[in-house]
Structure formats: C-alpha cells, structure tokens
Subunit: 227 residues, 2 copies
DNA sequence: TCAATAGTGTCTGTTAGACATTATGGA
DNA sequence: TCCATAATGTCTAACAGACACTATTGA
C-alpha cells in the first residue's frame, strides 16, 4: 500500500450540534475528547475513516455523540488559518446540525449541552466554527425551512413561531406569521390539542411541506443593503 | 523540524473565478496545470504554503491566474468524497471569486474564460465546486450586494439590472428595480453619461453604499417553502 | 422624421403589521 | 367569575408590478 492511502486523514471533521432547550439555543460539547488536561470542552470531532464521505463522517460523529442522527446536517466551511484545535491538524471541516428539541440527551457521560450565551472557552478554531454555524443556519432560513429541524414531530404554532424568533433573533407578528405559514403550505394540523397551563389549548401541527410554484413577488433589494 | 510541519499541505485550494462577458457568466479555466495529457481544463488550484491562511492562499492563486486581485472572494466549502481532482489530494477547499467585467484578461497563455453554458468536462470534484460557487453566489445575493463585484467602477443602471438578472436568472421590472435601488442607498450618480449606439445616453453610477437601519418589513416565509 | 433607449409618474392589487374580537380552557 | 392563551377577522399603509408617458440621442 502506498503511504498516501494508508495514512490517517490529514484533517478533522468537527460537528456543531444545536438544539433548543427552554427557549434557548444550546450546543453540544464534549469534555476534552483526546487526553487533554483540566476542565476543557470541545466540539465533537474525529478524523474521517478511509473512503468515507465528508457528510458520512459528520453523520457518524454526530450519532456517536448524540445517540441518534440529527434531522438536518450541512457543511459550514473548512477552517484552519493557524488557529488552535484540540487535534493538531492543519485544517478542519466543520458541519452544523440541528437536533429536535426533546431528543433524549447523552445523559451524564462526557457530553453536555451549553446555552449559546454561556459557552465555555473553546479552542479558537472551534469558536469560529460555532459562530459560522449560527450564521450559516440563519442564512439558510430563507432558502429552506430549517426551523423544523429543531422541533419534534408534533408542535404548536406558538412553538414554531418561537423557534423562528430564536433563529431570526427578532419578534414576529402572530397573525402575519400564521398567514405566511398558510401561504407556504409547510404544516398540516393534526387532530390533537395540547393544554399548556392556563388558556385555551393549542392545536398540534406537523411538518408536511407541499410543492409550490416559487414565490412570484418581491425583489427585496433592501436586504442586500449596506450594513 | 518535525515531519508534520515540514511536509506540503495535504489539501488543495481551488478557485472559481467568475466574470461577466457579453451578457453571460464565464469561469476562468487553466489548461492542465500539472503535467496532464491531452486537452484538459481545470480550475486554478495549488497547495497552500506554510502558515498561509486559507483566504490568503486563495487570493494568491487568484492573482496568479488573473494578474489582478478579484474584488470579492469567499469560501464555498471543502470537497472530497473520493471525487477525482487534478491533484491526488483527499480534500480541496474551494473559493468563489468575482472579477469586474472588463478587467484585462490573461490573454493567450494557458488560461481562458468559458461561458457557463459551455464549460468543458472538468474533474468531477471541480465540477462540484463550480456548481457550488453558483449556488453560493446566488444565495449570498440577498445578504450582501454581490452584483457589484462583477461590474467596473462606473456602470449604468441598465448594466446593473442586467447583472442582477444574470445572477437571479429572471427578468426584473425596470421601475421597481430602480425604486428598490434608491431605497437601498447602494449607488450614487456621477456627472458622466455614456451613449450606447442609438437612444438617450445613460447616466453613470458608482457603488457607494450608505449605512441604513435594517429593513423593517417582510417575513418572507414563502421563500422558505418546499421545492 | 423615426427608432431606440433612458428615466419617471401614476394606478392597482397584494400584503405586512396593527388592532380588535371571539374561543376555550384553568384557577 | 376572571385570567390567560389560542385563533381569526378587519383595517391601513406600504409596495411590487404594470402601464404610460416624457426625454434625449443616432440614423
């Protein structure tokens, strides 16, 4: 065997696993995966196996950390630039993934969820990945219905709206949100209701996208304006 | 010196250089950069030098191929998955770049511009990169004013609209386009006109973005609908 | 003069956001 | 009963798209 095809891959795959816990976005971190002193947390990472696709490796690593496969997974970018990484590899390919809220977590063990506002210090390269994951997810929102990756099979429209608000980082108008939702044919009511403390029970919905002709209206040049 | 820090980088940087020629998008290809038989074209690529950032390497490669630096350059993604590449490296990090139309081309030599509809057969991995570049540029359009990267310093509003139409792959309404442009504070008229054959001469503009409060209106959930 | 392109004003149907109202449960 | 939340109807200002019109050049 040639040296080239036998050696371990000269790069790592790192996965940013995101979920929604108590109205906040959380990221899954692992306690110092390779032997690394003191209290240090890191994104799950590994080197890919032989002849494994990038996506495939990312899925495998996510599954190993989480116990289940994430609903949505996409590459963020390659990172390097001399920034430190738990492994000593020149570059790392980062993936972002969304986990349905309520998915049984890797209890105890060396994994834990951290709210985005309260993430411990990471290796600089992984810190970049986390930031990249957030902007990637946010920018994908207007191209695919990403929010459903954070929700369980059944959800209320209020939960769905809260997830959108969490990702967009802004409040949405209830009536407008529901009208837009109806126009987009993304969800379908099911014959079940959930009572949340006081108030009228909310009907449950499920994600059931229907094919549509692409939206006609809108140039939306405003969004492309200067910062 | 350790073997790790002395060896050549185990990955490549590939650059998708795009420009606008005669109302079409063109990509810059290089005639078989490493000794490779027959008539074969490839995206410009190289391995990064020691301690060079990913962006820096991409800029250097772009400049080597083009003679000038591209106005806009951004990472697309890492590609691998066993797809063939002109170099025999496990992965490649691809960058997309926009070149102002009219930039003096690398005349003769081993470089040439190819219209997107008429690209010769590429190495599979580089074909993926080209497709990735296109969808990346298109998806960035509603986040930053990407179109100006394809235009020279001075341009007419009709040229600007044609560039938008080229990138969006659809016709735009003239009056609406100009209204949106005015609202976005992206351009500024200069005291110069250009006569293009018949008709009334068009005023020239230049890119001069002004800071604005983010657009208020629009949930635009439609765009996130099912395909 | 006509032809061709640049640039602008007005109208109309659509819709985001605001507001108000009804519906339905728990305390 | 009062309160809290769900869900929906109506109004209005903003705006995308259509159309028509004026402006200014070359042929």
């Amino acid at each position: 065997m040639s040296e080239r095809h036998n050696r371990r891959s000269p790069y790592t795959i790192d996965v940013v696993l995101l979920t929604q816990i108590k109205g906040q976005l959380d990221v899954l971190l692992c306690r110092a995966p390779p032997p690394e002193g003191r209290e240090k947390w890191a994104l799950p990472w590994e080197t890919p196996r032989n002849d494994e696709s990038l996506d495939g490796a990312a899925r495998r690593i996510a599954k190993a950390a989480l116990g289940a496969e994430p609903g949505w997974l996409e590459q963020i970018a390659a990172f390097g630039d001399g920034k430190r990484h738990p492994g000593d590899f020149e570059i790392s390919v980062a993936f972002g993934a969304l986990v349905a809220m309520g998915t049984p977590s890797p209890v105890g063990g060396s994994y834990a969820w951290f709210p985005l506002g309260d993430v411990p210090q990471l290796f600089p390269r992984q810190r970049q990945m986390l930031d990249g994951a957030m902007s990637m997810v946010r920018s994908r929102m207007d191209q695919e219905p990403v929010a459903f990756g954070l929700l369980p099979q059944m959800f209320t429209l209020t939960e769905l709206q809260q997830t959108y608000e969490l990702l967009l980082e802004k409040r949405l108008h209830k009536a407008s949100f529901r009208r837009a939702l109806q126009a987009a044919w993304l969800v379908e009511p099911i014959d079940e209701w959930r009572s949340e403390g006081r108030g009228r029970p909310a009907q449950l919905y499920r994600y059931a996208p229907r094919k549509r002709r692409p939206a006609q209206r809108g140039i939306r040049l405003d969004l492309a304006a200067a910062r």
